[in-house]
Symmetry: C2
Subunit: 413 residues, 2 copies
């Protein structure tokens, strides 16, 4: 079953913004067992929208369109679609009432051009927009299905799973709850190694298919079962168990969880407090930890100790250690983690020190050399890394390893 | 003059990665004075590539294709194009020699399938790849031009401006150096306000067109002159001057410069050192400052003072101030900036404190209330903000304002 995606907007063909809707929709369609025929982006012109739509329809059973549903003269998706299908438009009074209500609720003065957002091609089933005023709709024509959504990514993310996907399943897959899926997030193992390991695991006999999504520096594995009955649920759990048996140590999260979120939950559950001392990651570890709402409950403070003076004065890293081993060394990393935990009076201390480059590397300590240490009640652990990326990516993967080492420490690994 | 863009790869139609090539190419084509007809993404199948290419060619004078040029059986762009144009392929010996040289240079064993990367449709002009092994090419057919590049974004960014754009200019615009352009980066003013202000400014008589690219939280303004002679250069400078006269205070950078890069240059030139104390931005200000290579020369340390204890102990923010005014207050922000500068012995101190949400807001200090302070030889300045975004965006715009206030302080504004 092939589905096309059409994203509409001059801002896309002019390169003003990067598409965020096709890249959101494509993996979902893939996991439903449908295939994306083509993705197309067209400008706001009515003729362009119709041209791209005709192309996609001629190669697809269904097309999902986003964008061009707003109140202004630039928004021509509905009029263009109605003309392409030779239909008139109707005004949906229920939609109009609810769009007006939203204006009242937000205290925004109503202007008449907004009524356009309650106009739909004849025969269309309106899809409510709970996060905005441009409603979507689903339309059938000569055995093809067209689903239309506004262009605002947050509205698509709400309306598609709630209002469109169930209708598409009904029309394209005979209804049902849709596939069961589980995302496993892995870190610290390469794409090709995961491939190799899983090549020897039998998923087919469980009716489970595997999708693979690299998201630097993580690798996401999506297990999907086409059915959704009790047997399928058991098979999915069995498939997850099989992945866990061969790759368990690399799995840090499931589904919507993030690494910083998992670390936050562990700190919260175990009632542990944390302080961080960063050199090469320059504040990125603290930044990620404080992205979690409520992080002040366990994150006491963070220090970005770029100068040697700051390492000595605040963390009491001995000058002798800095002199003998250098700021980028296991000894310094350990002293930083222990020092920041002592300074802040926290249960745990986490530290990073390394050479992010492009300058500053030597033969013995080339660019990309990084040490991460965790200090706590079970003693201090430290690990040395050698990364081969640019400055920003070295910061990112170092921060990720810092959080991952903390997670493993908290898990008692 | 209309140009289509085709990005090829199963990883795109399956949603495994987000397109980075069409979004790079579209604004460049726009600034050249060409219009992007449609952007299409197709999978790796030979039939799919040909179908999408035919669609784009029927609506465009030229098409730029990226992807599907590698050595494996999955890479079918060239064979698919040759068939679509009814041509055979030839092996370019010069290309083959240079691709083999690259393998030798990198010490990678040569395998025969790599020779495929020196095969081109008959009549094609090869485009060397200095950053990889898949060469590109430009092909003419029945008055249409097709330019083909590999899918790796970093290779596209190198090969397109050097190897493809000059050829396209020759064929589509009669040669020349291409348009002159200048990007002005603005912050602290809304899109609609910029629009309003510039509506009254005459650019047309200078032969200058304006492009507008919002990049949260910045707004980028691109001024373009179609000509590239001395008169055009003068007109471009005059247009920049006209923008500066009405919006100068909001312009923080030009062209490839970043805000942290501009701040870094100012600190470097003025031989000033900096320490940062962050609360609500949680390390993001330090993270951005340390993204600049060589930042250890002026960035002495950063503190993420999440707890009140850390503000008192390390920064000597008086307990009385915290009690009377709260951690989120002008008084605390000032004490933090002055305290961190005193602690670190730096010329300047920069601080942020606020409520990033979603919890923690009150009637008097709702979520999004943020104070930023800069302390230095000209005294301490502090500013209060009220942002209406989610937690991550509040962190991002607060960090941006912190860097911007530092920039203005250094500029003596």
């Amino acid at each position: 079953m092939k589905i096309g995606i059409l994203v509409v907007g001059d801002e896309l063909t002019r390169g003003m913004v990067q598409d965020a809707n096709a890249s959101y929709l494509a993996p979902i369609l893939q996991e439903e067992g449908w295939e994306v025929s083509f993705i197309a982006a067209s400008g706001d012109g009515g003729e362009d929208i119709a041209t791209a739509l005709r192309f996609l329809l001629s190669h697809s059973r269904a097309v999902i369109v986003t964008g061009g549903l707003g109140p202004t003269a630039d928004d021509r998706t509905t009029e263009s679609l109605a003309r392409a299908f030779g239909r008139g438009c109707f005004r949906d009074e229920e939609a109009l009432r609810r769009i007006r209500e939203r204006f009242d609720l937000l205290g925004i003065p109503w202007t008449e051009n907004n009524a356009k957002q309650a106009d739909f091609p004849e025969g269309a089933v309106p899809v409510p927009n709970l996060g905005g005023t441009a409603w979507g709709y689903v339309l059938e024509d000569e055995g093809k299905t067209v689903a239309v959504l506004p262009g605002v990514p947050s509205e698509v993310r709400r309306m598609f799973p709630e209002g469109v996907l169930p209708l598409l399943r009904e029309r394209l897959s005979g209804g049902g709850k849709g596939p069961l899926k589980r995302t496993l997030k892995l870190f610290g193992i390469s794409e090709s190694r995961i491939d190799e390991v899983l090549a020897g695991v039998d998923f087919a006999s469980l009716g489970i298919s595997l999708g693979f999504y690299p998201r630097f520096p993580e690798n996401h594995l999506v297990l999907t079962s086409r059915n959704s009955d009790r047997a399928a649920e058991r098979n999915l759990e069995e498939a997850v168990e099989r992945v866990r048996r061969s790759l368990g140590q690399y799995i840090f999260a499931r589904d919507e969880e993030t690494l910083e979120g998992v670390v936050a939950s562990l700190l919260w559950e175990r009632k542990r407090t944390l302080a961080v001392a960063e050199s090469c990651t320059g504040g990125l570890v603290a930044d990620r930890l404080t992205d979690v709402p409520g992080s002040s409950a366990y994150f006491e403070r963070g220090l970005v100790v770029y100068s040697n003076a700051s390492k000595e004065e605040m963390l009491h890293v001995p000058a002798a250690v800095l002199e003998a081993h250098g700021a980028v060394s296991e000894e310094t990393a350990r002293a930083m983690a222990e020092g920041v935990s002592a300074l802040a009076g926290t249960d745990l201390g986490l530290s990073t020190t390394g050479i992010a480059g492009p300058g500053g590397g030597t033969d013995l300590k080339p660019v990309g050399t990084v040490f991460v240490a965790v200090a706590g009640e079970r003693g201090t652990v430290c690990r040395k890394f050698r990364f081969r990326w640019n400055r920003r990516r070295i910061k990112e993967i170092s921060a990720h390893w810092a959080l991952e080492m903390l997670r493993r420490y908290l898990e008692g690994e």
